[in-house]
């Protein structure tokens, strides 16, 4: 992918609207082109700024109660009430994207969901690490849990010289993402790790940004260079986080309720 195309697609990337193949392409380009990465970074920061300012909008005091009252009483009653003037700002978690593009030491993470000692999450992390290591070291790919992952891996094996497979639409290849992850390839975390390693083996995830929070990662829990994939249960969403090329990576996870969580990761090289 050349620069003009990458720049033309930056909003589509930001909005998680690219299909898997294009996503990989543009991220690979950003990894190799500092100028485009800089521009994308600035674009994304501007969006984040606008979102922050929007979340500071004052919400009228007692709004939720009046809405419920309206639902209860139907079309009568609440109409005569005058809504309270906007006063107190309901505090929102800051959505600032903490982007540290430097070898920074991270703040230790104290969020409950990482400490919840999730058995399944830990197992997935371990599996992912092992997969990444095996692939990076060129060892035989080991048995993966699902046939989806196998097919994916075989598919990725047909990569181009740059290490990215750009000639196929993965969904057309019969690969059905289990997690709707638009960066990487969905499926199992192992498969995602495999895909990511082809893009940027030397990357470490330092932050996760989800709606409502910017979460610095505990360096002890972040895998070292050549890292794999984390899977967490966070606020009712299945979250898959994988380091990916360039300064950042973007995922969308769709929960069963159809809500999208937009994640941005920042990498330290």
């Amino acid at each position: 992918m050349k620069c003009p195309e990458a720049r033309r697609n930056q909003y589509a990337l930001l909005d998680n609207e690219l299909d898997v193949a294009h996503n990989l392409e543009i991220l690979a380009h950003l990894n190799q082109c500092p100028e485009c990465a800089r521009l994308f970074n600035a674009t994304r920061e501007f969006e984040e700024l606008v979102r922050e300012k929007e979340l500071a909008l004052p919400i009228p005091v007692g709004l939720a109660e009046r809405v419920l009252a309206r639902v209860r009483t139907g079309s009568a009653g609440a109409e005569s009430e005058v809504p309270a003037p906007a006063g107190r700002v309901i505090p929102f978690p800051r959505r600032g994207v903490a982007l540290v593009v430097a070898a920074a030491v991270l703040v230790a993470l104290t969020l409950a969901f990482l400490q919840s000692g999730g058995g399944p999450a830990e197992a997935l992390v371990e599996e992912s690490v092992a997969t990444s290591e095996a692939i990076r070291s060129g060892a035989e790919p080991f048995e993966v849990a699902s046939t989806d992952s196998k097919a994916l891996y075989a598919h990725l094996a047909k990569k181009t010289a740059r290490g990215i497979c750009t000639s196929h639409d993965l969904s057309k290849a019969g690969f059905t993402p289990a997690g709707c992850c638009t960066c990487g390839v969905g499926g199992t975390p192992s498969a995602m790790a495999a895909a990511i390693q082809y893009i940027a083996p030397d990357a470490v995830l330092t932050h996760i940004v989800v709606p409502g929070a910017s979460i610095p990662l505990d360096p002890a829990k972040v895998l070292t260079k050549g890292s794999g994939v984390y899977s967490y249960r966070w606020r009712g969403h299945d979250v898959l986080i994988t380091p990916c090329g360039s300064d950042l990576c973007v995922f969308v996870i769709r929960s069963d309720a159809g809500v999208r969580a937009r994640l941005l990761g920042c990498l330290v090289h």
Binding site: R8, D15, E54, L57, L63, A64, R70, V71, A257
Partner: protein, 192 residues
């Protein structure tokens, strides 16, 4: 304990609806630019959603369904879409991406950091200055995180129009804020 959708109580509905109240309010505020109208819209939306809950397909995107109700209410009350015959909305026919033209990058990363420190109400005011059709898509895409396809369903416009308006909305917002920041001496005039 489990109520069928048709027998939903107000409390049960509130449990599902409550997390959407503030996002709905912010969207309604951006659409109407008036806190009183915005609250009115949210209350009407809640009432309509409650009354027509049986039409909501369980398991489908509840937020999108509710936002569609909000938008319908807003359009019915505040946005007359009367068109003169023969006039076509240019946005419906123009290409999605405008090549060359105004494809500018308005801020560097450092400049955005400066804006974050120095701006407060200016962003909100700039949003309010956007034309209504730009504001609508921007709010749904950037603040509420709806997919282009979902926005297309909520606003009942083609997806190409969604993409085009969103792109133009973003460019317009950046251009406006750039001018505001330069006029206030917050940013130096860019050498273009």
């Amino acid at each position: 304990m489990t109520a069928t959708p048709k027998a939903l109580t107000a409390e049960e509905f509130d449990g599902q609806f409550r997390p959407l109240i503030e996002p709905l309010y912010r969207t309604a505020y951006r659409m109407t630019r008036d806190p009183v109208r915005a609250e009115d819209l949210v209350q009407e939306t809640a009432l309509r959603a409650f009354r027509s809950y049986a039409q909501y397909e369980q398991g489908s995107n509840f937020k999108a369904w509710v936002f569609r109700i909000l938008t319908n209410e807003y359009i019915n009350l505040y946005r007359q879409r009367a068109r003169r015959p023969g006039v076509v909305d240019f946005a419906d026919v123009e290409p999605v991406y405008e090549e060359a033209a105004e494809e500018r990058q308005y801020f560097t990363r450092d400049e955005v950091d400066t804006l974050r420190e120095r701006l407060s109400d200016e962003v909100s005011q700039a949003l309010d200055r956007l034309p209504a059709e730009f504001r609508e898509v921007l709010v749904l895409a950037v603040f509420e995180g709806f997919a282009y396809k979902e926005i297309s369903g909520i606003l009942k416009i083609p997806m190409g129009t969604v993409m085009s308006r969103l792109y133009r909305a973003r460019q317009a917002l950046q251009k406006d804020l750039r001018a505001v920041a330069e006029a206030a001496g917050i940013l130096k005039r860019a050498v273009s």
